[in-house]
Amino acid sequence: METKATSVHKVALLGNPNLGKTTLFNALCGLRQKTGNYPGVTVDKKKGKFKHEGESFELIDLPGINSLFAKSQDEELVVDYLLNTPKAELPEKLIVMASAINLKRTLYLFDQIRDLDIPVVLVVNLIDVADKQGIAIDVEKLEEEFSVNVVKISAKKSKGLQDLKDLLLQDITVTSREPHYIQEYELSKVNAQKGDLSTYSAFVKMTNGSLGDLSSAEQKKWNTNESILRYKFLSRIIEKSVSQDKSKATDFTTRADKILVHPIFGYMIFAAIMLLIFQAIFWLASYPMDWIDNGFAALSEFSTASLPSGYFSDLISEGIIPGIGGVVIFVPQIAILFFLFSILEESGYMQRIVYLMDRFMQKFGMSGKSVVPMISGLACAIPAIMAARTIENNKERLITILITPLLTCSARIPVYVVIIALVVPDDAMLGIFNAQGLALMAMYFLGVVLSLISALVFKWILKTEFKSSLIIDMPTYLMPDFKNVLLSVWNNSKAFVWNAGKIILATSIILFVLATNGGDKFNNAEQIVVSEYSHLNEEEQDLMVSSIQIENSYLGSIGKAIEPSIAPLGYDWKIGISLITSLAAREVFVGTMSTIYSINSEEEMTIRDRLKTQKRSDGSAVFSFATSISLLLFYAFALQCLSTVAVTYKETKSIKWTSIQFAYMTALAYFSALIAYQILS
């Protein structure tokens, strides 16, 4: 007998979107999952691990799809994985999920996958909800009809998971079925082409054009015949295996939708939810943010006091601690954002937004489906651009990708919060609303408006050959799973801190070194002051030494070199340095500012207070109203995120569109900042 103890069992999870695949994935793997290194929804393959009876399993979560006849990029990814992975790398077993409350339609995908002749287990999820609605499912009957193992589960309540895991330990063999999805004369054509492929793999490849020479009219005919035949087959099975006690049936979802997608109330509720999200980000997060801000100031002070004085302790207390503090402070806001987002996703409301907004989005050359990438773009543009894969029409997808980075992502929050605090007083209220919260909302609004205007321009420029369509599921409303929500908050906050942290730690060290070294003038600062400013008292002389040093450090020289090009926007060389360092990632701005301004300063202050006290050579504040507005506009529009550039290239596979995106956003940023500063100053 073969021993399996040392090998890892590879299992892949498939199913329609919105059935609770992620819930099952989380229930099985818990925290033992490898998430992408960017915050947001996972649209690529996701891997996790779990153990059962001493055996190790690797679980691969594939994006949700409706059919093996691929119409969008995410469906293509799954079909390609199932059909073109070399045999040795294919998972040992597939878990295909169907929904107990919508069995016939969700079995359609399973019925297709069943014919690939890969060992497969069918899990019927949401069994608890089905119970409440009086739906009874005969598992033995399903097992008999499909000749596969079937498990009823409730992923949310962790019911049936033991049975599923026990099944995964067993050896499962599948025998090919008599093809019921194909007509006689088609079958003979498939048999002539298939070689050593399974009949259905050959059928799928022939209808998607990667095998044989079917005309597109034939491909279409084969596919439509397939779906009619499969539904006939499924209707017969459902009749035998499902019964419903109609007296218990509830139509909570359609009743709730009487209000939630109402032509007037529906839109008001949507607007109210968005407003609530922004208020929560600002107001609710302000308490933990204050603690963190004060905590890092105290930590800096403590390390100054307790470490022996010298270059390295300066590096720690004036370079690294304020730099890291500049990132950690935004964790509460990001956590709240992802908390609310995953509730929108989990509850099923997100698809209602698609429905409500489709008509509106079409005016801008996009689809209702573009709303999901756009809303997740409010968290991070990277997964958002990837989420555009679900959009079938190429033009709608390209426009969505091009404009998504204009939406306010979480990396902009740190920059906005700091600058808004300089312009709008802390305790200002407008009616019942916090004025800073409203200012932040205005920035989000600006991002949305500009993205729509840009979309309109692209719609006008781009040509399309294909008609676009929209046919989507409206998932049943469900209570969000608390575990899923918390895991999403945890994974995303971790990704934010980790990614930003790495860049910020490195830039703080480089900045500190560049700021504390320099040429002759830097080294001779004290002599210059003693000889030229002998009339000043000792304290003023010290200050003068510091300012001569920072100005003549290597860092200062770089800032000075670019000053002429940014002076018309109202920026000095110190802001210029921050612009350069935040080219790779925007959130570095705050860390850079706090590092630059704490070097050579005696007092420990919070970032905001430090920026407020900065003066120009003529004595006016550096962060005047005009400069602050100009900076806000610059950060709103500039594509300062290398990861976004990389992901746009990956998704469009086009240097042209990647460059166009970078160029139009940079131009928008520079000129809007220029105009704003020139008008306001």
Binding site: P263, R359, S469, I471, M474, P475
Partner: protein
């Protein structure tokens, strides 16, 4: 009559689905001749139509609904 012309809250049966680019997709979502459905909602300004068909809740654009002939 076309599905796009059906009134909100009306219950209808699909007679046939006209040949178009989305025929297959409609079939895959269960829009097959003989299927019963109820119009749950219609989004304003000629927006998508939201139906309940054979236990599934699905919405589709007006252009797609025009290819579904009902009785």
């Amino acid at each position: 009559m076309k599905l796009s012309e059906a009134k909100k809250n009306s219950s209808v049966i699909i007679d046939q689905v006209l040949e178009s680019d989305v025929t297959l997709k409609l079939f895959e979502f269960g829009f097959l001749p003989g299927a019963e459905m109820t119009v749950v909602n219609k989004a304003p300004f000629n927006g998508p139509i939201y139906v309940s068909i054979d236990g599934s809740l699905i919405s589709l654009r007006k252009a797609e609904a025009e290819t579904v002939i009902i009785k």
